[in-house]
C-alpha cells in the first residue's frame, strides 16, 4: 500500500492532477461572516481509497464535507468533485455521490422502505428499480425485518444504518460520511464499520470525518488531521504515528498531591530513555521507543505511580503532539 509515492510526500506536497483524483482541493476556504470555518486547505482523494478528516468538534470538518456535497458554496480556492465544479454542476455531482450527514435526516413521515424508495426517486430511478435496490440495501444493512416500521421507533444504530442504506440508493462512486458513528454504542459501531469496510472492498471511495481515533485507524487508508480550520498533518495512520509519535507510550497515574512535585523530575530521570513527556490533567504520558524500560527506570527512581501501563502509540498521541490538546474534550 505504501508503495504509492504520494503517501511519503504527504497531502500538502501532492501535485496530483485534478483528472485522476475524485476530489481535488487547493486553498479551499469557507467563511461565515468574520468566522473562518475552513482556512485554505489542500487535499486530494484518489479513487477507491478511504480518506478521513480527523479532528475535534469545530475543526472545520463538516463545513468541508458540505462544500464537497455541493450544498455549501466555497468562499475561496479551487474545488472539483468527480472532475466538476460544484458551483456549476451541483446537480450532476450530487447525482453520483452518496451523503450520510452528521444528523440523521430521515423522513419521519414514512416507513423505512419508503424512505429508500422515495430517495431513489429523487435520483430519477424507475419505481421498480428503486424498490429492488431498497430491498437489497435493507438486507445489506440488516433492516429487512423493519421495512414496514416507521422511522421513529428505530434505535440510533438502526437509523444510522438506514441513513447509510439511503445514501447508497444511487450506487454512488463516492460516499461522504460525516461523523458516521458518533453517539452509537460499541456494538452498533462495529456493525457499521463492518458494512463500510465491505463497501470499500467493492471499490466505493469513502470520505469520512471523525473525532474518534479508533474509527480513523479502522477505516482510513489515509487521513488528514484538522485543527482550527487548517490541515496540520496528513498520511496513512501508520505513517502519522511513525512521524509524530514514539513506538510506545508509558501511561502513569499518580496520586494528585504528588503530580506537582514531579515537575522536571521525570524528564531528568528518563534522560535518554524517553523522547517526550506530556502532562495531562489525569495522567502523565511518557513517549519512548521502549516503554517497559522507561517504566523500570521510573520505579527504580523510587517513584510510586498508582498505575502504569505500556501501550502502542495511537492517532490520539499524534493529535496531542500536533495541537497540544486531546481529540475529545
Amino acid at each position: 500500500m505504501t508503495a504509492d509515492p504520494r503517501y511519503h510526500r504527504g497531502p500538502m506536497a501532492q501535485a496530483q492532477s485534478p483528472e485522476s483524483s475524485l476530489i481535488h482541493a487547493r486553498g479551499l476556504t469557507k467563511r461565515f461572516g468574520d468566522f473562518t470555518a475552513v482556512d485554505a486547505i489542500d487535499f486530494d482523494v484518489a479513487p477507491g481509497e478511504a480518506f478521513g478528516f480527523l479532528g475535534p468538534n469545530g475543526a472545520g470538518k463538516t463545513s468541508t464535507m458540505r462544500m464537497i456535497g455541493c450544498v455549501s458554496p466555497k468562499t475561496e480556492g479551487t474545488l472539483t468533485v468527480l472532475g466538476m465544479e460544484p458551483a456549476t454542476y451541483g446537480p450532476l455531482i450530487r447525482a453520483r455521490i452518496g451523503v450520510v450527514p452528521q444528523e440523521d435526516t430521515l423522513d419521519q413521515e414514512m416507513t423505512v422502505r419508503d424512505n429508500l424508495v422515495i430517495y431513489g426517486r429523487y435520483f430519477n430511478l424507475p419505481r421498480a428499480e428503486a424498490r429492488r435496490r431498497a430491498d437489497q440495501l435493507l438486507d445489506f444493512v440488516q433492516l429487512t425485518e423493519r421495512a414496514e416500521s416507521s422511522v421513529e421507533p428505530l434505535s440510533g444504530g438502526m437509523k444510522r444504518r438506514l441513513t447509510i442504506a439511503r445514501s447508497l440508493i444511487n450506487e454512488p462512486s463516492l460516499l461522504l460520511l460525516d461523523e458516521p458513528t458518533t453517539g452509537l454504542d460499541p456494538q452498533a459501531r462495529h456493525l457499521l464499520w463492518d458494512r463500510l469496510y465491505r463497501l470499500k472492498q467493492r471499490g466505493t471511495t469513502l470520505v469520512l470525518t471523525t473525532h474518534y481515533m479508533d474509527e480513523a485507524e479502522q477505516l482510513c487508508d489515509r487521513l488528514v488531521v484538522m485543527d482550527k480550520a487548517r490541515i496540520v498533518a496528513g498520511g496513512s495512520p501508520r505513517e502519522l504515528i511513525d512521524q509524530y509519535s514514539s513506538r510506545e507510550v508509558l501511561e502513569l497515574r499518580f496520586a494528585s498531591d504528588i503530580v506537582e512535585s514531579l515537575d522536571g523530575q521525570l524528564e531528568q530521570l528518563l534522560d535518554g530513555r524517553a523522547e517526550r513527556v506530556e502532562r495531562l490533567p489525569d495522567r502523565v504520558l511518557v513517549y519512548a521507543a521502549d516503554g517497559e524500560a522507561a517504566a523500570v527506570a521510573v520505579h527504580a527512581a523510587g517513584l510510586r505511580p498508582e498505575s502504569s501501563l505500556v501501550r502502542r502509540s495511537t492517532l490520539e498521541d499524534v493529535f496531542l503532539r500536533l495541537t497540544g490538546r486531546s481529540l475529545i474534550e
Binding site: F32, G90, R94, D107, E109, M110, T111, I118, N124
Partner: protein
C-alpha cells in the same frame, strides 16, 4: 436557461425534478389519507351553517351584478375561495415551517440532484393539487344542492387554484423569514382579518367608503369576486383584473421563496 440549476442562481426553478417532491408527499398521505379527506368537510360545514342556518335570517342579498340572490348562493363561492386560500396558507406556512426547521426533510432532499428551486416548486404545486381536490369536492356538493345558477361556475375550480397559488406563494415567502413558532402567530393575525373582511359574508356595499377601497387589495377579495362572478354568471371585465392580480402575487411570492430558500438551506 440551462437544465443545470446553479447553486445560487437568483431565480432558480430547479432541474425539473419538482415532481419527485410531490411524489414524496403522496407517499406520506397514503398512510394518513384521513387527514387529507377530512379537509373536504371544513367548507361543507360552513356552507351548511352559514347558508342554511344563517341564510334564513339574512334572506336575499344583492349579487355581484346587483340582482338579488339567496344568501346561500351568495356565500357558497366565498367559502370555496376561503377554503382554497386557507388550505394553501396552512400547507405553505405551518407544514413548510415544520419540514424546514424540525424534520429537516429538505436537507436530505438537497443532497440529491434536486435543487432549492425544485423544493419550492414541488411544495407549491403539491399545495395546489390538494386545493384542486377540495375544490372539486366542494363543487360537487354545490351542484347537488343546486346552488350554482351558471355553468360558467365550473371554471371556479381552476380559479380557486389560482387563488391558492397566490396564497401559497405569499405564505411560503413569509415562512422563509420566520424563526420560531411564535412567528407563526403572525399568520393567524393576517389570515383571520383577510378571511372576515374580504366580502366573504356580505357584499362590499356594507363597508364604509375608505374600507371599501382597502378591501379591494385583498387577494381573497379578488379571488372571491372572480369565483362569485363565475358561479352566479355575472361576468365582467373586472375579472381580468382579478386574474392578473392573483397571478402576479403568486409569482412575486415564488421569486422571494426561491431566493430565501437558498439562504436558508445552502449556507
Amino acid at each position: 436557461m440551462t437544465v443545470l440549476s446553479r447553486v445560487s442562481s437568483p431565480f432558480a426553478f430547479g432541474s425539473g425534478r419538482a415532481r419527485f417532491l410531490i411524489e414524496r408527499n403522496v407517499y406520506v398521505y397514503r398512510r394518513t389519507y384521513m387527514t387529507l379527506v377530512s379537509g373536504f368537510f371544513e367548507p361543507l360545514f360552513y356552507l351548511l351553517a352559514m347558508g342554511f342556518g344563517l341564510g334564513v335570517l339574512v334572506g336575499q342579498v344583492p349579487g355581484p351584478d346587483g340582482r338579488d340572490i339567496s344568501y346561500t348562493v351568495f356565500i357558497a363561492p366565498a367559502l370555496l375561495a376561503a377554503s382554497a386560500m386557507n388550505g394553501a396558507i396552512y400547507d405553505s406556512t405551518f407544514n413548510v415551517f415544520f419540514k424546514l426547521n424540525y424534520e429537516k426533510v429538505y436537507n436530505a432532499v438537497l443532497a440529491t440532484p434536486l435543487g432549492v428551486g425544485d423544493v419550492a416548486l414541488g411544495e407549491i404545486i403539491w399545495a395546489l393539487i390538494r386545493g384542486q381536490l377540495y375544490a372539486i369536492g366542494f363543487m360537487g356538493v354545490v351542484l347537488l344542492l343546486g346552488l350554482m345558477p351558471s355553468a360558467w361556475g365550473l371554471l371556479a375550480v381552476p380559479a380557486s387554484v389560482l387563488l391558492g397559488f397566490a396564497a401559497a406563494g405569499l405564505g411560503m415567502a413569509a415562512t422563509s423569514f420566520m424563526k420560531t413558532w411564535q412567528d407563526l402567530d403572525l399568520v393567524q393575525l393576517v389570515v383571520l382579518p383577510v378571511f372576515l373582511f374580504s366580502g366573504t359574508f356580505y357584499p362590499l356595499s356594507v363597508y364604509p367608503e375608505p374600507l371599501r377601497t382597502i378591501v379591494q387589495f385583498s387577494p381573497l377579495y379578488r379571488g372571491t369576486d372572480l369565483i362569485r362572478r363565475l358561479m352566479t354568471g355575472a361576468l365582467d371585465p373586472v375579472m381580468l383584473l382579478d386574474l392578473g392580480y392573483l397571478a402576479l402575487l403568486g409569482m412575486v411570492g415564488l421569486a422571494i421563496v426561491s431566493r430565501r430558500l437558498d439562504k436558508l438551506l445552502l449556507k
